[in-house]
Symmetry: none
Subunit: 134 residues, 4 copies
DNA sequence: GTGGTCTAGACCACG
DNA sequence: GTGGTCTAGACCACA
C-alpha cells in the first residue's frame, strides 16, 4: 500500500514519505476525516525509524494537512485534499523552475530542455496515450 | 565576470561555482590553454571561502578539466571543452529524470509535466522560435 | 449540562472533565450526597472514551471528592465542596505562577503582566465593578 | 550567559531554550546578523542533547527568526528583532487568556484573578518600583 | 569545524 | 495502544 522510501534517492527519506502521504491525499486514497496509519505502524511497514515518520506527521500537521490526537491517532484534516493538490503542484513547479535555470546557466536552449524531458517521459512510457494518469 | 553563488540556492555553493566554470568552458569563454583566476582571486571575487574554490579546482583537475602547473597557476586542459559539454548535459539530464520521477510519484501525467516546462520557458522568454504547441 | 471538553485545548481531556466536575461541586450545582452521572452516561454525553471518565472518577475518589457505593453509583462526598474550592484555587495559582515566570523570562515587567490580564478580563466583560485603574 | 533549562518545568526543555533565544533577540543581546552559538556548543553549555538544540534552531528558522548556513553556522535574521517581540507578547497573551478562561470555568471573579496575579508579582518582588524592567 | 538526517531506544501522559 | 519528548550516537555534505 505505501511505497518504501529509497535511502539512496536524491530526496531524503522523510521527504519521500511526505510525498507519499500527500499523493495519497491528493489522489483521494486518504480522505478528510480518515485515520492514517499510526506512527509506529507506518514506520514498521516502511522499514524506517518511527522518529522519521513522526517528523513527517508533525510537519504535515503544522502545515494543516493532518490533525494528531495524542493517545488516539492521526487524522486527515478537512482542508487537506485541497491543500495537497496545491502543494504537490507547487513543489513540482519549483523543481521545474530550478531545472530551467540550471539549463540556462549551462547554455542550453529552451527547445533542448523540452526535447530532453519529452525523451525521458517517452522512455518511461508515460507519453504514448492521450492522458493516462490523473 | 563570474556570477556570485547564491547561498540560499538548492545547489551547494561549490556546485554552483563548478557549474560556472564548466559553463564558461563549454561556451568557449575559457578556451583550452587559458589561465583561470587564482584560487584566492576567484574566492575574493565570489565572496566565498577559498577552501571552497580550492575544492572545486581540485575536483575539476582530478576529472581532467584543468591542469595545474605548479608555481604558475591553473590552465584549462585540451579536452576540457568536450568534457564540459558532456558533463553539463549529464547533470541536466539527471535533474530532469528526478523531476519526472517526482511528477510520477505525485500522480501527474506526462503531458502535464511537458506543459509545465513549456509554460515556464515561455514565461522566461526562452522559447520564441518554433514553439511546438499552440 | 456538562460542557464538552475541547480536544485541541491546552488542558488534556481528562483534566477538563475533572475541572468541570470540581467546578460543579464548588459552585454547589452538585452537593454532598448527590449522585453523579454514570461513567458510561457521562462519557456518552461528553463524546469521550469511557476510560477517560473512569480515570477521572477514580482519581477524584482517591482524593476524597467522591465516594463509590458499589452497585449503586458515585456520590459526592461530604467534604467535597470545601476540598474543591481549595483545589481549584491551587490549580489557578499554579498557572498564574507559571505565567509570571514566563513573563519574567521573556523580559516583561510586572505591571505589564497586570495590565495584560486586566485588559483581557475587561474584554471578556468580567471586570465591571470596582475597576482598579482608570 | 544562557540559562539552563529545567527538565522538571511545565514547559518542555526545547520550549525553554526557544524562549531563551527569543528573549535574547527581543532584548537586543543578539542582534540581526549576529551568529548564534553552534548547535553542539549551546547543547554543551546547556547540558542538553544537540538534537534538542537543533530542533529549536530548525523551528526558529522555519518561522523566520534565524538563518542557518550549513557548514558555517546560524545567524539571527534581519526581521528577527521585530518578530521576537511580537511572538513573546503573543505567547504570554495566549497563556493569560487560558488562565482567565480557567478562572471563569472554576467560578472565580475577575477581580480575584487580578488580585492573585498582583500578590504573586509582589511576592516575587517585581512590583514595588515604577517600571524596573524593559 | 558546521548543520542535516537517520537510527535506536528510553520515558511520559493520554485514551 | 497512541503520540511527544529527550538522549545517544552514527553518517553525510559542506566550508
Amino acid at each position: 500500500m505505501w511505497p518504501r522510501p529509497d535511502p539512496k534517492a536524491p530526496l531524503s527519506i522523510s521527504a519521500q514519505i511526505r510525498e507519499s502521504v500527500l499523493a495519497a491525499i491528493a489522489a483521494g486514497r486518504q480522505r478528510p476525516g480518515d485515520r492514517l496509519p499510526s506512527v509506529r505502524g507506518l514506520a514498521a511497514e516502511l522499514l524506517v525509524n518511527p522518529n522519521t515518520v513522526a517528523k513527517v506527521y508533525r510537519d504535515l500537521e503544522r502545515e494543516g494537512f493532518l490533525v494528531t490526537r495524542p493517545g488516539s491517532g492521526v487524522d486527515v484534516s478537512e482542508e487537506a485534499a485541497a491543500l495537497a493538490m496545491v502543494e504537490l503542484r507547487a513543489g513540482l513547479e519549483a523543481r521545474a523552475r530550478e531545472l530551467c535555470e540550471q539549463a540556462e546557466r549551462a547554455g542550453f536552449a529552451g527547445v533542448e530542455v523540452l526535447a530532453m524531458i519529452e525523451a525521458l517521459l517517452r522512455e518511461q512510457g508515460r507519453l504514448q496515450p492521450e492522458g493516462s494518469q490523473r
